[in-house]
């Protein structure tokens, strides 16, 4: 099983140095979907939000669902990577970069979803000119902007040594790598400084990430609408975000592994470990969902029950029960079972299921509460229009496109961190374990 190819890690540079024709076909397809989305957006700019399926009282729909969904996925990277770094989880080395890039890129699409949703996108800067800080939406703008800044720095810092490698190897792209490498030579002082900055950023980024999805949940929870006005929404959303985030990393890793033949770097053990994390999050998700729904049911407030019943038995029930199956039953059965969890396909299947389920969860938070207003009124069903679906497809495509482009300019598996693992960590971990034992000598 172990085929050692020497330690030059040239396989990690291969995607940057050579590009297969099928990559261009892939990019072309994504661009075509992106262009279609641009057409959909143009249609909406020309004719207003009447081209969506939104109505009164379902004022929010797919765009806000996608906003929560994309911001949720952003918890993949930075948070998981920061936690693993701080925990000195050695298996993190080949997955942190792939995770961090997801965060930075997906945040742009999350924010863009809000702009899509505005009736007057031309006035978006009014939130700065006339900002009203009692609005949770403004808290959101603030925390997402902070998160984007912090996670960009957190992505960039560990890239510096790799950029320096590329600067020295690829003269044709020096114009790009030379300024970005910030004069990295690999001296002891530089290394100490880098280690320290990464450690500081890893600590800073965690509370920011937690705040981001908490505040997203507060956009709903701060209103008095049935099944939005809930105190557990903050942690519930954070758990959901990490859940869908881990699923996103697993899917991205599987694609990278296949496309760039990185089986040596992204091994079944990586999928297994992430799969275990996903299993824990799946259980937590079930716990929160159960607690939320049982509390609502037991309290039995009529207005809350209208929304509760529309989800569990009414017109949203097919989506609701699909969510339960895809967020819990499928991932739980696949991941609690060693036979399926230790296979790449097993964790990937669980992750795809989780993505579908978590998207449905967000849809089921946004739409049913609005569909049953407290004061009775004619409430037409919300059916998303082709414009909304097209823009969703386009956002997913453009995200994948940017991600793929990133892999063509920077190593998607951190070269220096793999080397560091090979050269230092093995002995470091041995001495660390020895230090726990009674035989340990004091240094």
């Amino acid at each position: 099983m172990e085929t050692f190819e020497g330690n030059d890690d040239s396989r990690l540079l291969a995607p940057i140095e050579t590009t297969q024709p099928r990559f261009w076909i892939f990019i072309g397809t994504l661009l075509a979907i992106g262009l279609w989305g641009a057409f959909a957006w143009w249609t909406q700019l020309r004719r207003g939000l009447s081209v969506t399926g939104l109505n009164s009282p379902v004022f929010w729909g797919l765009y806000i669902t996608n906003f929560v969904f994309f911001i949720g996925i952003s918890h993949a990277g930075t948070l998981i990577s920061a936690i693993l770094r701080l925990a000195h989880a050695e298996w993190r080395r080949s997955i942190t970069r792939a995770a961090e890039v997801i965060t930075v890129l997906v945040l742009f699409f999350g924010m863009a979803c809000v702009i899509l949703d505005l009736g007057r996108p031309d006035r978006v800067f009014n939130v700065l000119r006339f900002g009203n800080f009692t609005s949770p939406l403004l808290w959101d703008v603030t925390s997402v902007a902070t998160y984007l800044t912090a996670s960009t720095i957190y992505l960039f810092l560990p890239l510096i040594p790799d950029i320096a490698i590329l600067r020295d190897r690829m003269p044709s792209r020096r114009w790009l790598y030379r300024p970005l490498a910030l004069g990295w030579t690999g001296s002891d002082r530089q290394r100490r400084l880098l280690d320290r900055s990464i450690a500081i950023m890893a600590v800073i980024v965690i509370p920011i990430a937690v705040s981001v999805h908490t505040v997203v949940s507060w956009v709903f929870a701060m209103t008095v609408q049935p099944m939005w006005h809930s105190t557990i929404f903050g942690p519930y959303f954070v758990v959901g975000a990490i859940f869908s985030g881990i699923a996103a990393i697993i899917i991205a890793m599987a694609i990278i592994r296949k496309a760039y033949h990185l089986e040596e770097y992204l091994k079944p053990i990586h999928f297994n470990n992430l799969g275990l994390l996903l299993l824990v999050m799946s259980l937590l998700w079930f716990y929160f969902t159960f607690a939320e729904f049982l509390t609502t049911y037991y309290g039995g407030e009529p207005m809350h029950m209208v929304v509760f019943l529309s989800k569990t038995q009414g017109k949203f029930s097919p989506l609701f029960w699909t969510m339960v199956v895809t967020c819990f039953i499928v991932p739980f059965s696949l991941l609690a079972n060693r036979r399926t969890r230790t296979r790449v396909w097993g964790t990937v299947a669980a992750s795809v299921s989780v993505q579908i389920g978590m998207w449905l969860e967000r849809f089921l938070i946004v739409v049913p509460s609005l569909s049953s207003p407290r004061i009775p009124m004619a409430a037409p069903s919300y059916v998303p229009s082709w414009v909304e679906w097209s823009l969703f497809a386009a956002f997913v495509s453009m995200f994948i496109l940017l991600y793929a482009t990133f892999t063509k300019f920077f190593p998607i598996v951190s070269i220096w961190e793999i080397r560091e693992g090979r050269e230092h960590s093995v002995s470091e971990v041995t001495s660390r374990v020895l230090s726990y034992l009674p035989e340990a000598t004091h240094e």
Binding site: L49, D117, T134, V224
Partner: protein
């Protein structure tokens, strides 16, 4: 301190919808065709909400209740607006600044009465309605939120009139179009803080209640109804 409020006597209301029509005309609210209306794209600042009642089937099972903006004293919409485009004035009127609204519709989702309306389309009037638009009320562009203003332009007019006649505002000088048009005389309007006003007297009566009072929004629209279903509406 003046605190403008409305009283709607449900025991007198015949659900004739004169208030709805008067409001459309007064406030330059564009008409919608049937297709858009069925898609939930119509705008009305006051609507009749169908409340089901009479479980034993001994009485008509629907009660239609006129719902304008409640001009809450603790308005959930004002808190959530990220651009300060909706504000509560010192006399308690909750206003909308159309020129500032970014159209995020957070206020429309936060309002428990669902009285806020969104301009899904550019407003259009067929002739001769186009020529009959009121010059006192601005026409709203596509993409912004609007709502019942208690016809606050009428307050300006009443103030001007009073100033011209060199007197202070009297009870009944300022009436929104819906109140003025009600043929059943089921709607009243005035200063809730003036103990001599009609609305203050009615609001203190035993038939008075407010909608969704338990949410703590402190609505300034007060309903009157007697009988067992009164408190439930």
């Amino acid at each position: 301190m003046t605190r403008w409020g409305m009283v709607i006597d449900l025991d007198r209301c015949t659900a004739c919808q004169a208030c709805v029509v008067a409001c459309q005309v007064e406030n330059n609210i564009p008409p919608v065709d049937q297709a858009d209306s069925e898609r939930g794209r119509g705008i009305s600042w006051i609507r009749l909400a169908p409340f089901r009642e009479g479980e034993h089937g001994t009485r008509p099972s629907l009660r239609l209740v006129p719902i304008p903006c409640m001009h809450c004293e603790r308005p959930p919409c004002v808190k959530v607006c990220p651009a300060t485009a909706t504000v509560i004035g010192h006399e308690g009127l909750v206003g909308q600044i159309y020129a500032r609204c970014i159209g995020c519709r957070y206020c429309t989702t936060a309002c428990p009465y669902t009285v806020r309306q969104f301009n899904w389309k550019k407003p259009e009037w067929p002739q001769p309605m186009q020529d009959g638009l009121s010059p006192d009320v601005s026409v709203r562009p596509r993409g912004v939120v609007e709502k019942c203003s208690f016809c606050h332009h009428r307050l300006q007019r009443a103030r001007d009139q009073a100033r011209m006649e060199d007197r202070t505002l009297r009870d009944g000088d300022y009436l929104p179009a819906c109140v003025e048009s009600c043929p059943a005389e089921a709607m009243f309007f005035g200063d809730l803080d003036d103990p001599r006003s009609v609305v203050a007297r009615l609001a203190a009566g035993p038939r008075a209640f407010r909608l969704l009072e338990e949410l703590g929004t402190k609505p300034k629209v007060i309903y009157l109804s007697k009988g067992e279903s009164g408190g439930d509406v």
